[in-house]
Symmetry: C2
Subunit: 671 residues, 2 copies
């Protein structure tokens, strides 16, 4: 590359972009780790985007109608941090840049949502950003349809690298965006032909332009170091009525000795390499120094959107108070006041009628109460709508011809669904839930973990939650997935026993602001076990005494979901033999763990034999069996220690020994 | 569809295909569950494939040079079972067909590897079959290069549905096959435009032909009900020098009332629907009855490959005995005799030299011993070769111009890598291992689970296994992933403490025949803790006493991997205070659990305080802390209860309190 020619041709642009490159080099040298090449390669594209296209106001980072900028190639975090610092985001101080990758800094190795304003999502696990972005763009469409173009009208821009495009989930994103004609989604591809192992083509020779075009995208190309070309491409990309890919031909680690090599992907920390690169840029300022005139130009960019923001605020103030309230309530993740009463009414009705239904059906009943009073919910399923029971009558299907639709047919894309749902929630104003079979938690895992890490309340509706699904067999029967979800920090895993518990679980899941929920729901019908109406949400305590011992309390049986019925039947068998037995329903271990010890002790006192029954692996149960005042020689588990099998559900429960008789026997063997 | 026209045009073909359709209808009606539409739609394609193209011999299902047939759309299992039964596979009796989806039957709801001959892989989780198939085709290329075309020369055929193609992992498969010009891979797409939720285009409008072409595939189309057209397309597809897609335009549930509808996807069990469909087919035989002449035609197809097989056997007998032995040994998954001595020699050398290296480097050292003497190993990494240390000098890189290469640059495709590795192992003759960061277990999960379910010894090399990776932060720091892998049945999770344990872990992982292994390896350097050479493989016992208490045994500290060093340091602190402390290294919980109780009791006697230290979540440890003779009030854990953070590794260990001092304090607080 003839760097000096670039410099000479667009001197003002060049020095702004050089500021990004210099800060990147300095921060990574100071941290002695990081990824230099991507910010150095994409600085020109980002500069043009921020200067000429991105609608934002650094002084109002949470302005709801801002354009969203997502760095899907999250390892290039210094690109984002540099932009935020340069444009004047108040929490992205030079001190933060200097503390790049250090304990407590906002400037983590990869962008972490919540650490600083302007970080719209956590990225680093590749392919997530572009898929989140699909959710952002859907959220924008849905809210525009609901609140009007005066209030909601913005773009979502995403920078992706070759890694994002190789991850399979990107195909799910591309397919969804193309199908739904998400014309306000613009993807900027850092097309540098370099990955860690070498040139991209050692692993992939896909023609990305043709690939995106095959899914209905508009395709654009530019020299990623020519500001005029970048500007033209971005201008064109916004006009097409389709999602747009802008392939930006770039040089990784531009201007350094490592340019165009895999070495350039990582941390360039050698003082001579850093010094030479800066010299090539014509950058003479000291370490972490940005000349005042350049900083000032950047700050002008940062405040460029101020007027538009003020105009938006005026427009917002002009809409009905009710609309404003609804908009603000949804963004604040507050639930409507009437939710609580509505859930209570459902519980009362159910405790009286005592239906025997699958908890996936119970979930539909709960949603039937929630969706009409919470206009911010968006439901969906990964092509299992009739099985997941996620669609209620009022939602309408989201499609280009029905942007007000609140139900997504995600297709057979569990991962894409989960990641795009995260995007919707991150966008603001939406509470997203989506369904698949519990076993396919596996496919959605990367995004489910990120919801927990980002502290956002996405709801994963996982039906067919055990061998109870029957004939589809072990590929479809979750065994370890409750443990997997419970092992994940900041995740509520609900496994309700009946419609009442399901409604209570939904109430928590749809109210919480900082924790994703997994609802593990049965395929098979279950009796109503909560036959006495309680206004209190017992599920919110995680576990509670469902049926106490009659006579001396000799045993406690703990169970969740479909096995609560078995526990109750085992109790009957034991009580008939005079063995006082308590049944504890434990729909959410995490919430139980969060209770005060006094309460936990009341539910699980020391002394009695403890047996847990759950049609999953034991892992996660020992804590309540032998921990928590339990005893090694007085504790037992009835569940699965292998994968399942293909047969009718009743046969499987019998063959795998998950029966009331087996539970009662286990208790007796421990007395 | 004008069924009678189809019938009249190709009467002999039609009746053979009708046999598949009739058996499908009967089996699903008997089971009262299953998926009718796919077998009914793809019967013509499958009939032509088996009759005219697939090289197989029903009497020798494991003939190594057979073509492989993979049903990626595994819910259409009755298609496969019908074909196996009709062509005369001896273990696929009519009784099995009648017992479809029942306990103990070979005919599970989805095809389960190992249940019956001719089931090349377990499918059902969509997208896996096509990705396995990429591994099959790679294995064929690698073995052809190694053993010669006389011995290895076959195709891999895959039937995929729309669901497979929507799953992101299929893009990883498509990219890999295109890049590597896997010309013996033929994908037959059941293009019926129907999924469970409706027509495909409610969720996807991707032009699949263009999508595959963008990755370098050859593209073919045919009417999936015209046997001549199918034959032509298959003939063409094999000639292109590229992987080939054959888009077969079909009608789901052909000839039934549910044809071309979502209803047709599932179980057609209504007697009238079944009877009417059979009538439309001109099928007059009774339930589960196949007229003798039709069965006989099918059996002729089943024995069609007999001569080719005999010729192959003659050719095989003509190659050198050494080649035959190596070929047979690899297919039998036997390790060479010299492996054991080579591992012992490495252990001896290391115990003397006592290097301080990361266990990912230790793994490279072990592979440096294994790969030269096991020509069947194929290594790789998802674009982290230098970080995963998976490449040894002798392997060579697999590329079209170097088919003998035994190292795969998988690209940024953890899921595709894992699934294709499974395919290689399933193909036979290959032991595959591949690396990524431990955190990206999340991306590879669906395939890792299937390895465990299928009982195949794929090896997952997962480096950067804790907060010890440092600055990349929580998106890259596994916390729950040890628990996730341990929760999965039939999975060895190794977390070795030093080079000796790593070599021992590799010896188990590369020798086992029925269990996949996860090797959790450190980024950071670790001291050699096994300083005294033992020929015995202590890791194969799962846990063992690494350092015993001096004086009265008051405490047992259990640890794995990088925390064994911390445990030993904590022991020093405690012993200095006169507190007799044993350190148990526990590199593999699953193998420890498999030991006799006598041994387990020797390692973990009741009585002493127990503290476990591992830089992950507690889940999975309670079993050894409070279970297994432990006591609730004398057990403690030092580890993580949240996600990690971005900072240098030492800082993180300090801030999260995973230190020798904290472990010693925990012990003392429990004495």
């Amino acid at each position: 590359m003839d760097i000096s020619a670039l410099r000479d041709k667009h001197p003002s642009h060049w020095m702004k972009a050089a500021a990004i490159r210099a800060l990147t080099l300095d921060a990574i040298a100071a941290a002695n780790s990081g990824h230099s090449g991507m910010p150095m390669g994409m600085a020109d594209v980002a500069t043009v985007l921020f200067e000429k296209h991105l609608k934002f106001d650094a002084s109002a980072p949470n302005w709801p109608d801002r354009d969203r900028f997502i760095l899907s190639a999250g390892h290039g975090s210094m690109l984002l941090y540099s932009l935020l610092h340069l444009t004047g985001y108040s929490d992205m101080t030079l001190e933060e840049i200097k503390n790049f990758r250090q304990w407590g800094a906002r400037t983590a190795g990869h962008p972490e949502y919540g650490h600083a304003s302007g970080i719209e999502t956590t990225t680093g696990p590749l392919g997530q950003g572009i898929t989140n972005a699909v959710g952002f763009a859907m959220a924008e469409e849905i809210q525009r349809a609901r609140f009007g173009k005066k209030i909601v009208d913005h773009h979502t821009y995403v920078i992706v690298g070759d890694g994002c495009l190789m991850e399979g989930v990107s195909q799910e994103a591309i397919g969804l965006a193309g199908r739904h004609e998400l014309s306000k989604l613009i993807v900027l591809w850092d097309n540098n032909n370099i990955t860690i192992d070498g040139t991209v083509d050692i692993a992939d020779r896909t023609n990305q332009l043709k690939r995106f075009a095959a899914s209905g995208w508009s395709i654009h190309e530019c020299d990623g170091h020519d500001p005029d070309a970048i500007d033209r491409a971005l201008t064109d990309a916004k006009k097409t009525g389709k999602p747009a890919l802008v392939a930006c031909k770039t040089h990784i680690a531009l201007g350094s000795a490592a340019q165009d090599t895999s070495k350039g992907h990582g941390a360039l920390t050698d003082p001579k390499v850093v010094a030479d690169a800066k010299a090539a840029y014509g950058w003479t300022a000291g370490t972490f120094e940005v000349p005042a005139d350049i900083k000032s130009q950047w700050e002008t960019i940062g405040s460029r959107g101020g007027a538009a923001r003020a105009e938006w605020e005026a427009r917002f103030a002009s809409v009905s108070q009710n609309k404003q309230n609804e908009f603000n309530r949804a963004y604040a993740l507050d639930v409507p006041n009437k939710l609580s009463a509505a859930i209570k009414a459902l519980k009362k009705k159910i405790s009286e009628e005592q239906p025997k239904v699958a908890t996936r059906k119970s979930s539909e009943l709960a949603l039937g109460v929630i969706n009409p009073i919470m206009g911010e919910t968006v439901g969906g399923s990964a092509d299992l709508t009739g099985s997941n029971n996620t669609k209620t009558a009022d939602l309408g299907v989201f499609l280009p011809e029905n942007r007000a639709g609140r139900y997504l047919h995600w297709g057979i894309r569990e991962h894409g669904m989960a990641s795009a749902m995260n995007g919707m929630v991150l966008h603001g104003g939406i509470r997203a839930y989506g369904g698949t079979f519990m076993c396919f938690t596996d496919y959605a895992r990367p995004a489910m973990r990120l919801a927990a890490l980002m502290k956002i309340p996405t709801v994963f509706v996982m039906t067919h939650d055990s061998i109870g699904l029957g004939e589809d067999g072990p590929t479809h029967q979750p065994v370890e997935h409750l443990a997997i979800s419970r092992a994940t920090p900041n995740t509520y895993v609900f496994r309700p026993a009946d419609t009442i518990e399901t409604a209570e679980a939904w109430e928590v899941a749809i109210s919480t602001k900082t924790t994703p929920s997994v609802l593990a729901l049965s395929r098979q019908n279950l009796p109503t076990v909560r036959t006495e109406h309680k206004t209190k949400n017992l599920t919110s305590q995680g576990a509670y005494v469902l049926a106490d011992a009659e006579g001396k309390r000799q045993a406690i049986i703990m169970a969740t979901g479909s096995e609560v019925e078995i526990a109750l039947n085992a109790r009957d068998l034991l009580q008939a033999e005079g063995i006082g037995t308590r049944v504890v329903s434990m729909p959410c271990m995490e919430l139980f763990e969060a209770q005060e010890e006094r309460y936990r002790k009341r539910v699980l006192p020391g002394g009695p034999v403890r047996v847990a029954v759950e049609a999953g692996v034991q892992m996660g149960w020992d804590k309540w069996l032998t921990g928590e005042r339990g005893k090694n020689n007085k504790a037992g588990f009835v569940g699965m220690d292998s994968f399942g099998a293909s047969a009718p559900a009743e046969v499987l429960y019998e063959k795998f020994g998950i029966t009331a008789e087996a539970v009662a026997e286990k208790v007796k063997s421990l007395l």
